[in-house]
C-alpha cells in the first residue's frame, strides 16, 4: 500500500513540475503576473510530493518490504537500521529519487529566497528548474521505478546491500555529492533565465554567486568525503584513482571552481559575461554527464549498455536536449561582443583568466581521458583503460601553475597593477618560501623515510616543490591579512565574509596540495607474508603481528589481526585490521586499521590467508596524508563563508528600494 502512495506521489510531483515548467515561463511572455507567481507555490508543492515519495521508500526499507523489487535487491533483515536507511540510495533507482528530492529542495529554496528578485527572472529560473525535475521524474517513472513490485511472490529475505556501501561514509557521501551536482542546476537555471531575458549584468552575477558557492561547497565536501572513504574502506590506502566515477564528480567541480572565479569578475567589472554564462551551462551539463556515466552502465560495458539501452538512451537524450538547447539559446541570445575590455598586464582580471584557462584545461584533459576508452570501444579500436600516468602528466603541472597564480592573484588589483606593487609584495613570501622549500626536505626526508645514510641522499625535489607552493600561497595570504589589519586588531571585524572565505579556501588548497605532494613522495609501504610473531620494519616503524583470531560481527564473520607498532622500541599503537565475510552474499571485505595523525597515518590491512598459518599483510606509512582532506574541508568552509557574505543579503533590501538592475558598488 505504502508503495502505491509513493508511486502516486511521484506522478503528482511530475504533474506539478509540468505545470511549473510551462505556466510561469509562459506568463513572462504573456504578461500574466498570476501565472508567473505560480512558480513559488508549485515548487513548494513539488517538494512536498517528492518528499512523500521518498518517505514511502524509506519506510519500505525500514519495514523490510521485500515485495518491492528495489528493496529486495538492496536490503536485508539483518542489516542495522541506519544501513537500511542509507540503502535507499545504495543503487540506481533510489539514488535517482534522492537526486529528484534534492533538486526539489534546491528549487523550493530558490522559490523561498529569491522573492526580492524581479518576478520575471525568478519565474523563468523556476520554470527551468521544473523542466529538469520533469526530466528526472519521467526517467524514474518510465525506466527506473523504485516502487516496482515483485508480485505475486515476495521473497522472504533480501539480497543485502553491497558490503562496500555498509559504511558511515556512504550514508553521507551520495547526499552531499548530489547536493553539489544538483545545486549547479540553480546557476544553470539563472543563466538560462538571463539568456531568455537578455539581461546579463552585474546584478545577474550577484544573484547567482551565493548559489554557486553553496553548490560548490557541497560538491567539495562530497568529493573530499568520497576520497576519504575510498582510502579507509577499499583497504589498500589509495585516495584517488582517476577512476571514471571519480572523474565524473571532479569535472563539474573544476568547472564550478572556474565559474566562481569568472563570475566575480563579471559582477565586479562586468567582464567575461559570455564566458561566465557558458561555464554555468557547462558546469551543470557535466553534472548530467557524470550522472549518465555513473548511472547508465556505459562504464561497465559499452556493449552491455547497447544491449539494454533504455536508461542510457534516456539520459543521453536528456543531456543532448539540455546541452544542445542551452547552447542554441546562447548562440541566439548570448551577449554580443561587449564593451572593449579595459584591463591589462598584471590585473586581477588577467589572473582570473589564467585561473580559468588552467581549470578548464584540466577538465578537458580529464574529459578526454575518461571518454576515450568508451569511444575506442564503440569504434572497435580495442578495449583500453587509460592509466593514472596520463592524468598525472597533465594535472600536476596545471595545478602547480594554479598555485603560483593563486599567490600572485592575491595582490593584484582590478584593471591594472603597478609592477612595483607586485615586486614589493612578492619579495618576502617568495624568498621565505624558496628558503623553506630548500631546507624542509632535509628534515622531512630522513624523518619520513628513516633512511639515515646521508641527509642529502633522500633529498626529494617533489617535496621541495610541494613545500614551496604551499608556503608561497600561505605566506602571501598571511601578508595580505597583515596589510589589511595594518597593526590594528580591531580591523579584523571589518574584513568581509567573502574575503575570509577566499583566504580560507586558498589556504585549504595549499594544505591539500602539500598533503598530496608529501604523501606521494614519502609514502612507504610493504606487502608481506607474515605468521603471528613476525615483525617488519617500514619507515621509522616496526610492525609486529601478534595474532590473528576469528571475531563475529552483527552480519559478518571476521578474521581480526592484532598488530603492535613500535617506534624506537616504544609502543606507538595497537591496530586491529579485519577481513570480513558477510553472511548474506558471502562477500569478503578488507577493513583496514589506521592510526591517524596530522603528520602521518599508519595503515595496516590484511590480504588473504596463506598456507602454513600465514597471512598476506599490507603495512603502510603515509606522511601528511590527512592534509589532503583537511584541505578539502577548508575549501568547503571557505565556500560556505563566501556564500554567507552580507553583501548578498544587503542587496535584497537595496534592490527593493532602487531598481533591481542598479549596480551595487562594493569593496
Amino acid at each position: 500500500m505504502i508503495a502505491e502512495v509513493g508511486h502516486m506521489a511521484l506522478i503528482v510531483a511530475l504533474c506539478l513540475a509540468l505545470i511549473q515548467m510551462v505556466a510561469p515561463l509562459a506568463g513572462t511572455f504573456l504578461g500574466h503576473r498570476s501565472w508567473m507567481n505560480l512558480g513559488y507555490n508549485l515548487s513548494l508543492g513539488h517538494l512536498l510530493f517528492v518528499t512523500i515519495a521518498f518517505a514511502c521508500l524509506v519506510s519500505a526499507f525500514l519495514n523490510d518490504d521485500f515485495s518491492l523489487k528495489y528493496v529486495a535487491q538492496n536490503s536485508n533483515t539483518e542489516l542495522p537500521s541506519y544501513y537500511k536507511f542509507s540503502a535507499v540510495w545504495g543503487a540506481h533507482e533510489g539514488s535517482l529519487l534522492l537526486w529528484s528530492l534534492i533538486l526539489a529542495g534546491w528549487s523550493a529554496a530558490v522559490a523561498l529566497f529569491t522573492r526580492h528578485l524581479p518576478l520575471v527572472f525568478t519565474a523563468r529560473a523556476l520554470s527551468v528548474l521544473a523542466a529538469i525535475s520533469v526530466g528526472f521524474a519521467l526517467f524514474m517513472l518510465l525506466t527506473s521505478n523504485p516502487f516496482e513490485r515483485l508480485l505475486p511472490v515476495a521473497p522472504e529475505q533480501g539480497g543485502d546491500l553491497n558490503p562496500l556501501l555498509q559504511d558511515i561514509g556512504l550514508i553521507v557521501h551520495p547526499p552531499l555529492l548530489y547536493m553539489g551536482y544538483v545545486g549547479l542546476a540553480v546557476p544553470f537555471a539563472f543563466a538560462i533565465a538571463a539568456l531568455i531575458g537578455g539581461q546579463f549584468d552585474s546584478a545577474w552575477a550577484r544573484w547567482s554567486r551565493p548559489w554557486i558557492n553553496l553548490a560548490w561547497m557541497f560538491l567539495t565536501l562530497g568529493i573530499t568525503l568520497g576520497s576519504w572513504w575510498a582510502y579507509y574502506e577499499l583497504g589498500w590506502g589509495g585516495w584517488w584513482f582517476w577512476d571514471p566515477v571519480e572523474n565524473a564528480s571532479f569535472m563539474p567541480w573544476l568547472v564550478a571552481t572556474a565559474l566562481m572565479h569568472s563570475i566575480s569578475a563579471t559582477e565586479k567589472r562586468g567582464v567575461f559575461r559570455s564566458w561566465t554564462l557558458l561555464l554555468a551551462i557547462f558546469a551543470f551539463s557535466l553534472s548530467l554527464l557524470g550522472t549518465f556515466l555513473v548511472r547508465s552502465g556505459v562504464l561497465t560495458s559499452v556493449h552491455a549498455f547497447a544491449s539494454d539501452p533504455e536508461r542510457g538512451v534516456f539520459i543521453l537524450a536528456f543531456l543532448a536536449m539540455v546541452v544542445g538547447g542551452s547552447l542554441l539559446l546562447f548562440a541566439l541570445r548570448g551577449p554580443a561582443m561587449q564593451k572593449v575590455a579595459n584591463y591589462s598586464g598584471w590585473s586581477r582580471e588577467v589572473m582570473l583568466l589564467i585561473n580559468n584557462i588552467l581549470l578548464v584545461s584540466s577538465m578537458t584533459m580529464i574529459l578526454i581521458g575518461t571518454l576515450y576508452p568508451l569511444l575506442a570501444d564503440v569504434l572497435d579500436l580495442g578495449k583500453i583503460s587509460v592509466g593514472p600516468p596520463y592524468f598525472n602528466f597533465f594535472f600536476v603541472p596545471l595545478m602547480v601553475g594554479l598555485l603560483v597564480a593563486v599567490g600572485i592573484g592575491a595582490f593584484t588589483r582590478w584593471k591594472r597593477t603597478e609592477t612595483g606593487i607586485i615586486r614589493q609584495n612578492s619579495i618576502l613570501p617568495l624568498s621565505v618560501s624558496l628558503l623553506g622549500a630548500l631546507v624542509a626536505p632535509l628534515w622531512l626526508g630522513p624523518e619520513a623515510t628513516a633512511l639515515s645514510e646521508s641527509w642529502l641522499s633522500g633529498y626529494s625535489m617533489g617535496a621541495a616543490l610541494s613545500v614551496f607552493l604551499a608556503l608561497w600561497v600561505i605566506l602571501v595570504i598571511a601578508q595580505d591579512f597583515w596589510q589589511k589589519l595594518d597593526g590594528r586588531l580591531s580591523r579584523f571585524r571589518k574584513l568581509s565574509a567573502s574575503y575570509w572565505g577566499m583566504q580560507i579556501a586558498h589556504t585549504g588548497l595549499a594544505i591539500c596540495a602539500l598533503g598530496i605532494g608529501l604523501s606521494t613522495v614519502y609514502d612507504q609501504s610493504k606487502e608481506l607474508r607474515m605468521v603471528p610473531g613476525d615483525s617488519a620494519q617500514v619507515a621509522a616503524y616496526r610492525f609486529e603481528l601478534v595474532d590473528i583470531n576469528q571475531h563475529p560481527g552483527p552480519n559478518y564473520l571476521a578474521y581480526r589481526g592484532e598488530v603492535q607498532v613500535y617506534r624506537q622500541n616504544q609502543l606507538v599503537t595497537v591496530l586491529f585490521p579485519e577481513k570480513r565475510t558477510y553472511n548474506a552474499g558471502g562477500q569478503v571485505m578488507t577493513e583496514a586499521a589506521i592510526d591517524a595523525s596530522l603528520t602521518r597515518d599508519i595503515y595496516v590491512s590484511l590480504g588473504e590467508p596463506l598456507p602454513g598459518g600465514a597471512w598476506a599483510v599490507s603495512l603502510q606509512v603515509k606522511p601528511f596524508v590527512r592534509c589532503i582532506w583537511l584541505g578539502g574541508l577548508l575549501l568547503a568552509l571557505g565556500g560556505l563563508l563566501a556564500a554567507g557574505d552580507r553583501r548578498y543579503r544587503r542587496s535584497r533590501a537595496k534592490s527593493q528600494a532602487v531598481s533591481p538592475t542598479s549596480e551595487v558598488v562594493s569593496a
Partner: protein, 152 residues
C-alpha cells in the same frame, strides 16, 4: 594591416598553436598510457605486443594457483576456454580472487608469453564478471564450436 586586426591575428595564431600542441601532447600521452586488453587466445596466437603494458584476463584455471612459501609471489593461469596465459604477480591479491573466477591482470608480456603483472583485478562483487572476460569467453567458445565469430 590594421594594428587591432594584427593584434587579434596574433592572439588567434597563439591560441591555434597552443591548442595544437595540447592536442598532440594529449594524443601522445593517451597512446603511451592506454592499456589494451588481449584475450588468452590472442596472446597464444602472438597478437599481443611484448614489453608493452597490456591487460589480459579470463577465468583463473582450477589448480593453477601456485604460491611461494616465503613471499607473496604467486603464479596462476587465466583462460578464455580456448587458450591460457601464465601470470606472475607479487603482492596482495584482491579479496574476490579465486580459482574458477574471473580476473584481469595489467602488466608486461615477455617473449615466452609470461605476463608479469603489476596489478590484478578480480570482479568487485559476487554477481559481476568483468565485461572483457565475459566477451573473451564468449568469442573463444564460438570459435571452438565452429560458429562464425561474433563482433567483439
Amino acid at each position: 594591416m590594421h594594428p587591432i586586426r594584427k593584434q587579434r591575428l596574433q592572439v588567434v595564431i597563439l591560441i591555434v598553436v597552443a591548442a595544437s600542441v595540447a592536442a598532440g601532447l594529449i594524443a601522445y600521452m593517451l597512446g603511451q598510457n592506454a592499456n589494451y586488453f588481449y584475450t588468452p587466445s590472442q596472446i597464444a596466437a602472438g597478437e599481443a605486443p611484448i614489453n608493452v603494458s597490456i591487460r589480459a584476463g579470463g577465468m583463473v584455471v582450477e589448480g593453477s594457483v601456485l604460491r611461494s612459501q616465503d613471499s607473496l609471489d604467486t603464479r596462476f593461469k587465466v583462460t578464455d576456454g580456448a587458450a591460457s596465459v601464465e601470470v606472475v604477480y607479487s603482492g596482495i591479491l584482491p579479496d574476490l580472487f579465486a580459482e574458477g573466477e574471473a580476473a584481469v591482470a595489467t602488466g608486461i608480456l615477455d617473449a615466452n608469453k609470461l605476463l608479469t603483472a603489476r596489478q590484478v583485478l578480480a570482479k568487485h562483487d559476487e554477481n559481476y564478471t568483468p565485461p572483457e572476460v565475459a566477451e573473451a569467453m564468449e568469442s573463444a567458445s564460438k570459435q571452438t564450436s565452429g560458429q562464425p565469430q561474433g563482433v567483439n
